[in-house]
């Protein structure tokens, strides 16, 4: 049994210890917002927060998150009110949308560490997240907008 918290709720799972966190979230817990894209930490679609840090869940064995606190896209806010979600809606970022959970989780982690990122900071933090629809320009704008929303007290 491995025990950890996801979005504030405690879970205990009985799975092989090498099972990637991604599949435990998707298949055992039923949180399918976190996506499989590459299985090698190359695309960022599976990004979640573990104790506040952006982590690629596709290469994180579930044993590594024992007793830790995980936040997935579903847990970012109950009502799309997280500044990054607000900014994503206002800038109309997603196209197919598949990579966006990972993009948003990476952006949220960036902004909590650096509330006023420059374009270079954004490049550095976001270049591990791929998007085949090419939403990068809007993601960049949306991160700046989210920073503004946070500065104006928009964070709940």
């Amino acid at each position: 049994m491995i025990s950890f918290k996801v979005n504030g709720r405690r879970y205990e799972v009985d799975v092989p210890v090498d099972t990637p966190l991604l599949w435990v979230l998707r298949e055992n817990i039923g949180l399918t917002g976190t996506k499989y894209g590459c299985g090698m930490a190359l695309c960022g679609s599976c990004t979640v927060h573990v104790n506040g840090h952006a982590v690629r869940s596709c290469v994180t064995p579930v044993s590594a998150v024992a007793d830790k606190e995980i936040v997935t896209i579903e847990g970012l806010s109950p009502d799309n009110s997280h500044p990054v979600q607000q900014a994503w809606i206002e800038e109309d970022v997603p196209q197919c949308g598949y990579c966006q959970s990972g993009q948003i989780m990476s952006a949220a982690a960036l902004l909590s560490a650096n509330p006023t990122p420059t374009d270079d900071d954004i490049d550095q933090a976001m270049s591990a997240n791929l998007c085949r629809c090419g939403t990068y320009q809007r993601i960049r704008k949306a991160i700046h907008r989210a920073a503004d929303i946070m500065a104006a007290g928009g964070k709940k």
């Binding site: 799975v15 092989p16 090498d18 099972t19 990637p20 599949w23 998707r26 298949e27 055992n28 039923g30 949180l31 399918t32 917002g33 976190t34 996506k35 499989y36 894209g37 590459c38 299985g39 090698m40 190359l42 695309c43 997935t72 896209i73 579903e74 970012l76 806010s77 799309n80 979600q85 994503w88 809606i89 206002e90 109309d92 970022v93 997603p94 196209q95 197919c96 949308g97 598949y98 990579c99 966006q100 959970s101 948003i104 954004i122 490049d123 976001m126 270049s127 591990a128 997240n129 791929l130 998007c131 085949r132 629809c133 090419g134 939403t135 990068y136 320009q137 809007r138 993601i139 960049r140």
Partner: protein, 715 residues
């Protein structure tokens, strides 16, 4: 249920009542291509296109798949413009498979060829307008007033001081005669269409709620991974499943037509089981295939005359008489689509029925191909379309390969099953943009005017071996091989475009912009070479050959002007220009690049001018141009699928590298205001970017790139 035939002599409306009271409305259009896909199908109507219920719910049943192009937003905008309601409250329901939902441009349910808006503008406008007329007619009857006193606005009908909502009117509206004439608005009076609006699907795409094929679960569902031959066309020889079956959670190992399926309780068990599987493959005839050898073969073929696709004047004679000849060869690699969501399919079989959940670009084909595998009537197969985690052509496979694989596994295990492709399965699984070789030869007269153009194309036909081959391929020419080259807009008196279509076992398929993705690179690089050969400005040189092509000229001028063409740039920077018409739209792009140190390329800015005629949502037009440019940039900078000993050498995003945020240029999109018919928008942004970038590299370095991708020449 009422019908009016001959509404405009070619289509007819049909109305009915929903079970709980309300109006449903459909519009049948005849299909341009007779299709056996619909043989023996019972005419389907429940739901049709539009449902207005007494609780004010308005639902659009959308026949196109949402794969990022914004169709779940464009369709409600078009309908609401005529219906006069709050378009943001319209609910979307993916359509089931039925002939009424066929794409009027293809005859089957297909989301592809940049047709989402082009094929639906008129149909959806008429549905919205007819519903409004019937709602007003119901109000007229109830109030006993003259129709002219009534008007519809924001989901209500008004007359004098009286008001009824669409929900209140829906049930009686369903009993009104279906109008036989449905006049549409003058586009100059549009209130919604043509204005920038946020997409309707964004809220569920920022909180993980949007459901893609991979997210679907069914009670008792198993997960399967399939081991397939490392060589295309190979078959299973022998296999030893004992190690695979020993993995905890593996339920079964079954041989299917596509390979060997490991079926398990979850993904990780299926993956470990497949890793432990020992299969001997009978590789078949393609075990020595290599792209290096293919290039040599293609180059030889290009020296011989192909099948002519276009011939104007006498190009051979004109070439011989030219005062200057220029020739060049361009090669482009196989490309994977690499959709962010690897392929997958959920199939839930029961004895004589089957339900499928899949992100597909081709519902009719998916249904019919699955039915064939399962040995049941197509009408017994129900396809539920989910969101697509990228399409780009891959999810419109002509043989529905990923749906067929799902059906094969479900048939073997007789349980609900989700077949998941790993990224490696997806990358190595074939159905690539073909490998292309282009040879061009031009003759110029003493004044530097192009008098002869000879373009030879070598590459696999996408249509060959597909159900569409007979319909689409004419006189040995697959139009998708030569598109963009055959329609060369430059006014040159002597033109020959010919084609060789070798076959070699690598499965090929349409990849965003299809033939234009290679012809634009060849044509627009070569025109640039010709301009430089006679020391002319590449923009003016093109422009001079487009006197009778105002829309081409329009975008070329707009892109040049907005990019500051001809104005000084910092040292080490250069501009390149390119353009193409595709899918009824015209796009020109100017790329600005630099070499900040030897061999280190940066694309700084792309200025894109697009003329797509009338448009629905300019915010989506901009997004699709950005998207097409990024997709094309990934290919021009780094994209290549190569084969050695019959095996694909790439496997994941470390060796099939795509554009990341740190290399994203600034993209500026300028839309031409136009009253022309709507053009496509999903694909036309892709073709010009490759030659725009390589032409810009030439402007900086004097070096001509004739082989894609640019890496490893420049990093």
């Amino acid at each position: 249920m009422k019908e009016i035939v001959n509404m405009s002599r070619r289509d007819f409306l049909k109305a009915g009542t929903v079970a709980c009271g309300g109006l449903i409305l459909g519009l049948y259009l005849p299909h341009p291509l007779p299709s056996s896909a619909w043989a023996a199908e019972t005419p389907y109507f429940p739901g049709a296109f539009l449902k207005i219920e007494s609780d004010e719910t308005i639902t659009m049943i959308v026949s196109k798949s949402e794969m990022g192009q914004g169709v779940y937003t464009s369709i409600p905008m078009l309908v609401a413009e005529e219906l006069e309601c709050d378009w943001r409250k319209i609910r979307i329901e993916p359509a089931p498979v039925a002939q009424i939902y066929a794409n009027p441009m293809t005859g089957a349910m297909v989301t592809g060829g940049s047709t989402s808006v082009r094929s639906e503008w008129e149909r959806m406008s008429k549905v919205g307008a007819a519903a409004r007329m019937m709602l007003i007619a119901a109000a007229v009857q109830q109030w006993k007033v003259k129709p002219a006193t009534c008007h519809a606005e924001n989901g209500k009908v008004h007359s004098g001081g009286k008001t009824l909502t669409y929900g209140q009117l829906a049930e009686s509206a369903a009993k009104m005669p279906v109008p036989d004439q449905v006049p549409l608005k003058d586009p100059s009076t549009y209130k919604i269409v043509g204005k920038p609006h946020q997409r309707l699907d964004t809220p569920q795409k920022v909180n993980g709620k949007a459901v893609y094929g991979c997210d679907v679960t069914r009670p008792g569902m198993l997960i399967a991974l399939v081991a397939r031959s490392p060589v295309f066309g190979g078959k299973v020889g022998n296999f030893d499943a004992s190690q695979a079956k020993a993995v905890q959670g593996v339920r079964d190992v079954v041989q299917i037509e596509s390979g060997v399926a490991v079926v398990a309780d979850n993904f990780w068990a299926a993956k470990k089981g497949r890793d432990a599987l020992d299969v001997d493959w009978d590789e078949g005839q393609w075990g020595s295939l290599s792209t290096d050898a293919m290039l040599a073969q293609y180059r030889e073929l290009a020296k011989t005359p192909g099948i002519p696709a276009r011939k104007d004047g006498d190009p051979q004679k004109a070439l011989a008489a030219a005062s200057k000849q220029v020739s060049a060869e361009y090669e482009l690699p196989y490309l994977a689509h690499a959709d962010m969501e690897p392929l997958n399919c959920v199939v839930d079989p029961s004895p004589d029925r089957c339900e499928i959940w899949v992100g597909t670009q081709g519902q009719t084909g998916s249904r019919n191909d699955a039915a064939k595998v399962l040995g049941i009537d197509p009408e017994k197969v129900q396809v539920h379309t989910t969101f697509l985690g990228g399409g780009f052509g891959r999810r419109g496979n002509p043989h529905s390969d990923f749906v067929v694989m799902g059906a094969q596994v479900a048939k073997a295990v007789q349980k609900p099953v989700k077949v998941i492709w790993t990224r490696e399965d997806d990358m190595k699984g074939g159905w690539y943009r073909p490998f292309w070789f282009n040879k061009l030869n031009a003759g110029l007269d003493a004044n530097g005017k192009v008098i002869a153009w000879y373009h030879t194309i070598v590459g696999q036909s996408i249509m060959a071996g597909t159900p569409m081959e007979k319909m689409r391929t004419k006189d040995g020419i697959d139009p998708a091989s030569v598109e963009g080259a055959k329609e060369l807009p430059y006014e040159i008196p002597n033109i020959l475009v010919d084609l060789h279509s070798p076959q070699n076992g690598v499965p090929v398929q349409w990849w965003r912009s299809v033939g234009h993705s290679h012809t634009c690179f060849a044509v627009e690089s070569f025109v640039d070479e010709l301009a430089h050969a006679v020391r002319k400005d590449p923009y003016q040189f093109r422009r001079a050959m487009l006197a009778n092509h105002p829309r081409h000229r329009g975008v070329l001028d707009l892109a040049a002007q907005k990019s500051g063409w001809g104005k000084p740039l910092p040292a080490g920077h250069g501009r390149g220009i390119a353009m193409m018409e595709s899918y009824g739209s015209f796009v020109a792009q100017v790329a600005e690049v630099s070499m900040d140190e030897p061999g280190r390329l940066r694309v700084h800015r792309v200025v894109c001018a697009v003329d797509c005629g009338r448009y629905v949502n300019p915010s989506i037009i901009e997004a699709q141009m950005e998207s097409g440019i990024v997709f094309g940039l990934s290919a021009v900078l780094r994209g290549a699928i190569t084969l050695k000993k019959g095996r694909v050498e790439q496997s994941n995003f470390h060796d099939y590298r795509v554009l990341r945020m740190d290399r994203m240029p600034v993209v500026e999109v300028h839309i031409v205001q136009s009253k022309e018919n709507p053009g496509g928008i999903g694909e036309p942004g892709t073709p010009p970017i490759a030659p725009a970038v390589t032409n810009a590299i030439f402007a900086v370095t004097g070096e001509r790139i004739r082989r894609l991708p640019i890496e490893p020449t420049y990093s």
